[in-house]
């Protein structure tokens, strides 16, 4: 292994954008920045160059706790045999387009 010191990386941030009022913030990607303010500015320049958004959230990636692949069996499989919990039998009214 090389002993060359690697340049210190700036923290990684996850970016969430709400495209218009009434919708939820959606994860659009991630970027490196020195601090949250810079992450917000970079998010604007990286992901909103064509007017895609009305609101941005950034959060340092290390603050996200994620489920693990190995937990899949205990987390999700038990739901499969409980169809009465699924809203499958409702019909969505025609003029609702953001459900």
């Amino acid at each position: 292994m090389s002993e060359t010191p690697q340049p210190a990386l700036t923290p990684l941030f996850e970016v969430f954008v709400r495209s218009r009022r009434g919708l939820d913030h959606i994860h659009v990607g991630s970027l490196h920045a020195h601090d949250p303010e810079q992450a917000l500015a970079y998010a604007r320049d990286t992901y909103l160059r064509r007017g895609e958004g009305a609101s941005i959230w950034v959060v340092e990636s290390q603050h996200i706790t994620a489920s693990q692949e190995s937990d899949a069996a205990s987390f999700y499989d038990p739901m499969d045999d409980k169809p009465y919990r699924h809203a499958t039998y409702y019909t969505v009214p025609e003029d609702i387009d953001t459900l």
């Binding site: 920045a33 303010e37 320049d45």
Partner: protein, 256 residues
């Protein structure tokens, strides 16, 4: 205003729009030189974004001037020679290192936030409208450059050294931002142009405040450049124009 002074004022406004356009075009061209060269991918996009704001501003101003002079925005950008460009010399200086680029940006942004705010009150409706659009962009630019200053000043000994070197180099070019010549004086009297000199004290106070926070020494330059507004440029400008104008010079009238 009587009929005999009307044409002169319109000529003045066209020239004024051209010089504001020149400041934006040349500064934008310098920022474009960072494309694919910036310290990080994110900063690359951010710098290009500011550059595009500046090019967009130049287009609006050239188009407005062109309506009076009966020529296209492209003719103004690509077919004029050095002596006809009236930009301040600070914007044509080579991009330098990142500290130089960002400190120049800060000096200009802090000026422009005041200048374009005042220009929104211009008696010329078109200039006022362009200023209103520009002001929104500058508010974002200044936010960026203001945040970069402490990062560079208080970051590493190397970044501090580079920032201080940039301050020493740039200080002799600030006077031109606040220079008022005969043309601008005529427009100031008609409430078409804001008086640049009014912004100096406030601008300097903000710079001094930031410098104290960032432990940056503001130079006491004995020299101040002049001449950009009169078409006298630095030795760097010809090289910039040859790159900017190459395509239109080699293939006149070429279009996308």
């Amino acid at each position: 205003m009587d009929a005999t002074t009307q044409p002169d004022t319109e000529d003045d406004i066209a020239q004024y729009a051209i010089r504001l356009g020149d400041d934006a075009l040349i500064h934008g061209q310098r920022l474009c030189e960072w494309s694919s060269q910036a310290p990080t991918l994110e900063e690359d996009l951010a710098l290009s974004n500011v550059a595009l704001d500046l090019l967009g501003r130049a287009r609006l101003l050239y188009t407005y001037a062109g309506e009076h002079l009966n020529c296209s925005e492209d003719a103004l950008a690509f077919s004029r020679d050095e002596p006809h460009f009236q930009n301040v010399l600070m914007v044509e200086l080579p991009r330098g290192d990142f500290a130089f680029t960002m400190l120049r940006q800060l000096f200009i942004d802090l000026f422009e936030i005041r200048f374009f705010n005042a220009l929104t009150y211009s008696q010329d409706k078109q200039l006022a409208a362009i200023a209103a659009k520009t002001l929104k962009e500058v508010e974002y630019h200044v936010r960026r450059s203001r945040e970069w200053l402490p990062r560079l000043a208080l970051g590493t000994p190397e970044s501090k050294r580079r920032l201080q070197a940039a301050a020493d180099e740039l200080w002799g070019y600030i006077n031109e931002l606040f220079e008022v010549d005969a043309l601008e004086r005529r427009l100031i009297e008609q409430s078409i142009a804001p008086d640049r000199q009014n912004f100096y004290d406030d601008w300097l106070a903000e710079i001094q405040h930031l410098a104290i926070q960032c432990q940056l020494e503001l130079p006491d330059s004995p020299w101040q450049v002049a001449g950009g507004r009169a078409g006298r440029h630095t030795e760097h400008f010809g090289h910039l124009l040859s790159e900017l104008q190459f395509l239109q010079r080699a293939h006149p009238g070429a279009q996308w």
